[in-house]
């Protein structure tokens, strides 16, 4: 309560809050444990927020008002930052080794997924006090929010997906077995209906229809690598940057140099596109017309752009060494790429493919624009 009163006073006293945040973003600087605050429209860095610990593989989610970000660090740190003040507001060490997180549809709860000790912990978004601990005895991956104050996540060791319903305060857990061998990541569609887990130990993916009372695992793209030798996977693909391009999902294959297309309704395969290397992210431009793909080491200097109508590569270029992540402006006219080993973030026009700007950054990885605040699953 005291905090609430304090916050109200601050909001009234600080004219800085008049600054809009709708075209701002944060870029993880993994080597230095900092965040770069950026402005999409100006294609510029505005400042830096420091003191966030080990940010390797860090990700973040935004509060509904696009003012605060919750940063999930590899070291188990959960940090709340204020984008306007460019400052750390609160920080808790919630576990030994965390992998990602999500924010509830109402913005009240922040969930963190942990490798050590495993399981999911849920925190109050205002105070960062823990409100629920959900031990799983397993590394947890693919944590997303879905409507109704619910979170969905998957157990790497057990091949189970759990749905945690927090609408009543105490978590009610629904367990779904039989997801498959070693799920490494998962995605949820923007309507919160379809949850797809990628598997390391099998050449299919598994889909759940979360609109069913008792969702049943359904294999999709069965045997996509049948009869072919598995190529080494030097980096696991990510599914959270999933692509819905027109009426198809585009999904990275594991151990094959290709992306796979499935019909979003029937979940039947609709095609494949051979790629330059092992895809890591296959991300659709917001309008769905293009899919941009980056690759695992040693091919991580290259980007391919695929047209979602023809499913053909229409553009290939090498922005620089270590392209880790991509983020489109909300309407897709530009894309920002983090080029880790060049120490640069590069901004490209998605129609002409012209480079518009380079911005200096310390080993940049994830790029997150505040527009994510309004999307389920991000």
């Amino acid at each position: 309560m005291k905090q609430l009163i304090l916050a109200v006073t601050l909001a009234l006293a600080a004219p800085a809050t008049a600054q809009p945040t709708g075209d701002l973003g944060l870029i993880v600087e993994r080597a230095s444990g900092s965040l770069l605050v950026v402005d999409q429209s100006d294609r510029a860095a505005l400042g830096r927020i420091e003191g966030l610990g080990d940010l390797s593989h860090a990700s973040l989610v935004y509060s509904p008002d696009e003012r605060f970000a919750y940063v999930f660090g590899r070291d188990g740190g959960l940090t709340k930052v204020d984008i306007l003040e460019q400052a750390v507001v609160n920080r808790v060490m919630q576990a030994g080794n965390s992998i990602g997180g999500a924010i509830s549809d109402d913005g009240r709860l922040v969930a963190v997924s942990n490798y050590e000790p495993g399981g999911v912990r849920i925190f109050d978004a205002d105070t960062l006090d823990m409100v629920a601990d959900i031990p799983t005895g397993s590394k947890t991956i693919g944590l997303v929010d879905i409507p109704g104050r619910r979170f969905v996540f998957t157990l790497w060791d057990e091949g189970e997906t759990w749905i945690a319903d927090l609408s009543g305060g105490t978590p009610e857990i629904t367990r779904i077995e039989g997801i498959g061998d070693r799920p490494y990541d998962a995605l949820v569609t923007a309507d919160g209906r379809t949850y797809i887990a990628g598997l390391f130990g099998a050449d299919h993916l598994t889909a759940l229809d979360l609109w069913q009372d008792a969702p049943q695992p359904r294999p999709i793209l069965p045997g996509y690598a049948a009869g072919r030798e598995d190529l080494p996977v030097y980096k696991m693909p990510h599914l959270e940057g999933w692509a819905l391009a027109g009426q198809d999902f585009v999904l990275p294959a594991v151990g094959q140099h290709e992306v796979l297309w499935v019909d979003a309704r029937s979940l039947e395969e609709t095609g494949r596109t051979a790629t330059h290397g092992q895809p890591v992210f296959a991300m659709a431009r917001p309008d769905g017309r293009q899919v941009w793909v980056n690759f695992a080491h040693p091919d991580n200097d290259t980007i391919q752009v695929i047209d979602s109508v023809t499913k053909q590569v229409v553009h290939q270029f090498a922005p620089g060494p270590g392209v880790l992540h991509m983020e489109f402006t909300p309407r897709g006219h530009e894309v920002w790429l983090s080029v880790r080993d060049a120490g640069k973030v590069m901004v490209y026009d998605t129609q002409s493919f012209e480079k518009l700007r380079e911005i200096d950054a310390e080993s940049p990885s994830g790029i997150f624009f505040t527009a994510r605040a309004h999307r389920t699953g991000l």
Binding site: D54, R74, N97, K235, H297, P298
Partner: protein
């Protein structure tokens, strides 16, 4: 066999060249350190204390001998996400990485 011997340095040169550094006969410490922290780090954590892959800091590796570790790096562990690095690294480079991991020459 000859061809394999020729192939390995070439591939290794390719890996080092990909890191933007001229290839040499001797392992390139800077390029390999970058590889360990960034590319091994994507599974084992940038601080190497574990992630999807296990902790590979010195204490965690102390009870393995160097040859075993070099074999794991070069040939991977089938059935797990640990990939074989032989297509990208020479035996000398793998040996350098093992030494680097065992002596804990990290920040």
């Amino acid at each position: 066999m000859n061809r394999i011997l020729i192939g390995l340095p070439l591939l290794a040169a390719g890996a080092v060249a990909a890191a933007g550094i001229a290839a040499t006969e001797k392992p390139d410490a800077a390029a390999l350190e970058q590889l360990v922290l960034q590319d091994c780090g994507s599974c084992h954590g940038l601080s190497l204390k574990g992630g999807l892959g296990p902790d590979i800091r010195p204490d965690a590796l102390a009870h393995y001998d160097a040859d075993t570790l070099a074999t794991v790096i070069l040939d991977g562990i089938p059935g797990t996400p640990m990939p074989p690095w032989r297509p990208l690294l020479s035996e000398a480079e793998a040996a350098w990485i093992v030494e680097y991991l065992l002596t804990g020459d990290t920040e």
